[in-house]
């Protein structure tokens, strides 16, 4: 798989490239800021771009803006934003326009290579990725958790994985269930939360996240 890494820290950039190449990925280019990243992608579009949310010049959320631009100009390039912020609004900003192929992961995950490579592979397949810690935060918002009391424990688990962007099949694998069972759970959950039974699971992610965030 062809990857591009954008991070202003050379230490992290090189470390990440070594780690991913050791896992059999092909890191075609690296970039130190958003501008460089965009030109690299123009020249040789990768399958997935890993983008640090903080880059020069302001070191705040340049990565988010670069991601939106990439998704707008090259919809085939999936983008994984690596963020230091556990903030639902940043993730929702990223997902709002094109959830398929957009990912928001905490930067800490680069030290958990299996989580990272799993996310990269899911994004390459056109899925959505949301960091579990962010989903956990939203699920345990006091205002949210009291609206989820109708759900069974199993449905809770399934809802969390739906919010992380996992496909029904992936959820089935993760929970040792059949895909059919997962589909039933999902249908029940959506009905209980009064959400539309949406076929596109990426739209479903956005709907669930928005639901969890509301009120």
């Amino acid at each position: 798989m062809r990857l591009v890494i954008a991070d202003d820290s050379a230490l992290v950039r090189d470390g990440l490239r070594h780690a991913l190449q050791a896992h059999g990925h092909n890191v075609t280019a690296t970039a130190a800021d958003a501008e460089e990243l965009l030109s690299v992608i123009q020249h040789a579009p990768p399958d997935v771009a890993l983008v640090d949310i903080r880059m020069p010049p302001t070191h705040t959320t340049e990565g988010l803006r670069a991601a939106a631009q990439i998704r707008g100009e090259n919809p085939d390039v999936a983008v994984l934003v690596l963020s230091q912020y556990v903030d639902a609004d940043f993730a929702l900003t990223l997902l709002r326009d094109s959830p398929a192929g957009s990912g928001y992961l905490l930067k800490d995950r680069i030290t958990q290579l299996t989580v990272l490579t799993d996310a990269i592979e899911r994004l390459a397949r056109g899925e959505t990725v949301i960091d579990p810690e962010l989903v956990d935060l939203l699920l345990h918002r006091p205002a949210t958790s009291c609206r989820l009391t109708d759900l069974t424990d199993r449905e809770h688990e399934v809802l969390a994985l739906v919010a992380e962007g996992l496909s029904d099949r992936a959820i089935a694998e993760r929970l040792w269930l059949t895909q059919k069972t997962v589909e039933t759970h999902v249908r029940h959950i959506l009905a209980k939360l009064a959400l539309p039974p949406d076929a596109d699971h990426n739209r479903r992610v956005l709907a669930v996240l928005t639901y969890l965030r509301a009120a």
């Binding site: 230490l11 780690a19 705040t60 230091q84 639902a88 680069i110």
Partner: protein, 577 residues
Amino acid sequence: MTATRRLRAAAFALAALTLALWVMDVVRQLQLGIADSGLASYGVAGVAAVVVAVAVARQPGGERMALVIAVWLCASALDDLTVDWPVSRSATTAWMLARGLAPSAYALMVLAYPSGRLRRRGERLLVAFAVVVGLVWMGAPLLFFRPGACSTCAPRVSSWLYTGTTFDYLPVGQASWSAFIALGLVFVVLLVRRLHAAPPGARVTLLPLGLAVFFAAAEFIAQRVVWLGGWQSPVAALDWIDRANALLLPLAIFVGLAAIRRRRGALGDLVVELGRAGPGQVQPALARAVGDATLELALWIPDREEFVDEAGKRIDTNAIPPGRALTAIGPPAKPLAALIHDERLLGQRTLLEAAGSAARLALENTRLQAELRAQLAELRDSRARIVEVADAERRRLERDLHDGAQQRLLALGLALQLLRERSADPELLGQAEAELQTALRELRDLARGIHPTILSEQGLGPAVRSLADRAAIPITVEAGEERYPAAIETAAYFVVAEALNNIAKHAAARSAAVTVDRRNGRLQVGISDDGCGGAVATAGGGLQGLADRVAAVGGSLTVASEPGAGTTLQVELPCGS
């Protein structure tokens, strides 16, 4: 007997004499059967003028002016005297002297208004010349007049000064008249100049001067007509002007003096008014007292050695616009304040100084207040600057944590991954990785606590929602996406953060609500809970800290916290636009 009382007595005596002359003359005219329709108006005008002169004399400070008026009235009465009654040398002498001196008495009265003194050199010269011309004019008949030599002349006897010889003095009279006309023109010029230089707000006090100009001009024109027409006897117009003059001028002087007195009285009111004057009221009170609506008050700030206005703003005394003048109040070396006013008020220095002294106490207060306000403004600015610097420092610290320590920890994590590939001790590696994850999470929380990036990037609404996501109880957030100045957003955010913290720690609340909106051009933030209430702001406590933070950026914080009824914090901050 004081000088004032002497002056007043003299004025009364002259007025009485004038009245007696008039009465005598009227009686005489009635006796001779020469009284015509003009007699009534003549008598009334004379009596009324004397009454007015007495009224002027009774005004405090009007004694000298009254004496001057009485001199002129007396001269006029003598001038008007039908001189064949009684047939005497004394009457003839008095009549001639009075005729000669009446014009200068008139000029003296008008020019000496309102003080009764001639203050300017030009005015003194004019009156002196008028006396000289008058004496030359009447000197000739005094010395050389013999009854019978002139058939149309009224006196039946010569004066006391008659030399026994005759002399054709008609050319002297004509030359004198020409000189009088020239002097009359100068007189009008002097009057117009005084009218022009008069201070604002003194219209009524100028009435006598205006009337005098009008009469002088009218008389001048009438005399030219008489002169050109070659008539020997005065025409009715001149008579009419003289009578109106005799009545209206003293009356105008009376009204004018009363108006001046009222303005002085306004000074008395000023003292009372200033005693009650709050900040910002001294200037209007002074403006009213001196009758200059454009008057500005400049307060001296000794520390800065400069003048400031009541709002504490600096006034450049070197850049006073033309037409304006500055009058210092208090000792020149150590002024208390200064009045910047219409230049024409300089002629009324006494009024300005009196107003200044009356205002001194209140000014001292106002000055102290202005000084205090200047200091407060400085304090406010410096407090806002301190907060600004602290905020910038927080942002820098947050950045350093993310871009320094965190990147290094992440690089360390990546190195551990590579180590795992070469498989050392997996259990030990697992422990190291777990420690690392904890360190990264703590670092992230620390950075968020110092300065949340969501606040500067997405604004107050998302940042407050993010706080609510992390709260232990349900928090309803009503906030839009509107952005505010950074310092305001930061202050509001930390107030909400601290308030939610307090709710979690002390309130025992089941839920809370945060509202953020713009109302009346201010940012309004409300935080309320359904907890136990009874929160109080103690020095060094959290609430006091919040109030200080809010005040530093020019906002206010109110707390309503009845025991058992929950706590509501209401914060109001300036929006900057």
